[in-house]
């Protein structure tokens, strides 16, 4: 395919994404095409479509219901306090005291995304209060909110296991994740063979396998590094898409900055539901 044809097809797909969305195969095709078109403004058509929407169907002035706002505030509070913003350096893990069920067992059974609002509203008061308190109380930090996330209904904790790559080794710790909030973090306690990656040469990338999606297209969970010292660390998960029901978390070794589609050459850690 010539460069012009590649550009044409990529733009067709970008228009489609901006208006009706892409199916899995189209999304995969677009990502492959875009890898060869770094000059392309990939948000161009989505911005234009948003502007058309604002122009032709202006938003109403009605505020969101109080219960919805409260749940959003709670989710944002947890997101901010767990360092949910994209970061490459993991936050040190300090004195985390979390209720720990038997390894491999979820803290609470997943029952899908239905009925999320009632518990969210109930949890919102607690979380928002904690969020407000943490913002105003010196000495309180992400760990306390991480504990709150770990204790929320719907949060699962999955222990790490070594991956099939020869570069893997003993990996202990867990993934803590909540499908309803689309948030979580990774804890690494022992990660000897993975410690001290050279971020200029390669980085780790998390992939989240979603039971509601094609297993061939896991959700990108973000790129991260691990320190050279074996000190336990906590790494926020930065899921690039909404996750309906996480079933498997996998860490691969990728080029700096990560990849759109992993070759899965080096899977170094796994955590499975």
């Amino acid at each position: 395919m010539t460069h012009a044809n590649t550009m044409e097809r990529a733009q067709d797909l970008l228009v489609l994404r901006a208006t009706e969305g892409l199916d899995r195969s189209e999304e995969q095709e677009m990502q492959v095409l875009l890898e060869g078109l770094p000059e392309l403004d990939t948000d161009h058509y989505e911005r234009a479509a948003a502007l058309v929407h604002l122009a032709l169907d202006p938003p109403t002035s009605s505020p969101m219901p109080a219960s919805v706002r409260m749940s959003v505030e709670a989710a944002l509070g947890a997101h901010i306090q767990t360092g949910g913003a994209p970061v490459s350096a993991p936050a040190p893990l300090r004195a985390v005291e979390r209720s720990s069920p038997a390894p491999g067992k979820p803290i609470a059974a997943q029952d899908g995304r239905s009925n999320t609002l009632p518990w969210l509203v109930a949890a919102a008061s607690l979380l928002f209060a904690a969020f407000t308190f943490l913002n105003s109380a010196p000495g309180k930090g992400p760990d306390e909110t991480a504990v709150a996330l770990a204790d929320l209904e719907g949060t699962i904790e999955l222990p790490w296991a070594a991956g099939p790559s020869e570069r893997s080794g003993v990996v202990t710790g867990a993934v803590v994740w909540n499908d309803d909030l689309d948030q979580g973090y990774m804890e690494f306690e022992q990660f000897g063979s993975l410690a001290g990656n050279d971020a200029s040469a390669e980085q780790y990338q998390l992939w989240i396998f979603d039971g509601d999606r094609d297993a061939a297209r896991p959700v990108d969970g973000g790129v991260f590094d691990l320190p050279s010292e074996g000190e336990p660390v906590r790494v926020p998960i930065d899921a690039k898409l909404a996750v309906g029901k996480a079933t498997l978390f996998a860490v691969t070794v990728e080029r700096p900055g990560g990849v759109v589609v992993s070759e899965r050459e080096h899977i170094v850690a796994l955590a499975q539901l």
């Binding site: 550009m7 044409e8 733009q11 067709d12 228009v15 489609l16 994404r17 901006a18 208006t19 009706e20 969305g21 078109l37 000059e39 392309l40 403004d41 948000d43 058509y45 989505e46 911005r47 234009a48 479509a49 948003a50 502007l51 058309v52 929407h53 604002l54 122009a55 032709l56 169907d57 202006p58 938003p59 109403t60 002035s61 009605s62 505020p63 969101m64 219901p65 919805v68 706002r69 749940s71 959003v72 505030e73 989710a75 944002l76 997101h79 901010i80 949910g84 913003a85 994209p86 239905s114 999320t116 609002l117 969210l120 969020f131 909030l181 689309d182 948030q183 509601d212 909404a242 309906g244």
Partner: protein
Amino acid sequence: MASPTDQTSILTRVAAGDSSAVSECLDTYGPLVWSLARRMSFDASQAEDSVQEIFIEIWKSAHRFDASISSEATFIATIARRRLIDRRRSIGRRPETEQIEPELVSGTDKGLETVEINEEAALAREALEALKPQQRQVIEMSVIDGLSHSQIANTTGLPLGTVKSHVRRGLDRVSKILGSRAEADHAQKGGSEA
């Protein structure tokens, strides 16, 4: 990143990790996100879940906001639409907003008065009004009604290729009003002129 003249914008503060921006962001853009979610979701539960996802995504993406390319409202509407389209796609049908609006609008607030659209949107409207009626209809059916290109072709009797061309050219035309800097940036990056 935001321009130096935009240091006090909400998204700049969000990108800087300013947790005090939460309330201001929800006050300012809550109605916009809620309005889009309500109109593009199948039911109340979907709208509520979507709003939460959208604001999390706004927090994750705020560092990408560039005031020289679009307004904050357009940036946020872009994020919101992407999430809502993804959700709509995963469920596989179009929203029936008339079914959910009555349950969601509060009793005392009729809530359906539109807010004054921003300057960008006003210019976009002018650009759209300059299109041929058929082109504008296709754009509306695609962007506002959420019809697929095939559905639009079936509804209007237009060839599928014509529908795709109308949508793409219409969006290209609207994008030009995003400002000279965006236009220059777009041209520099290879553009999308068909």
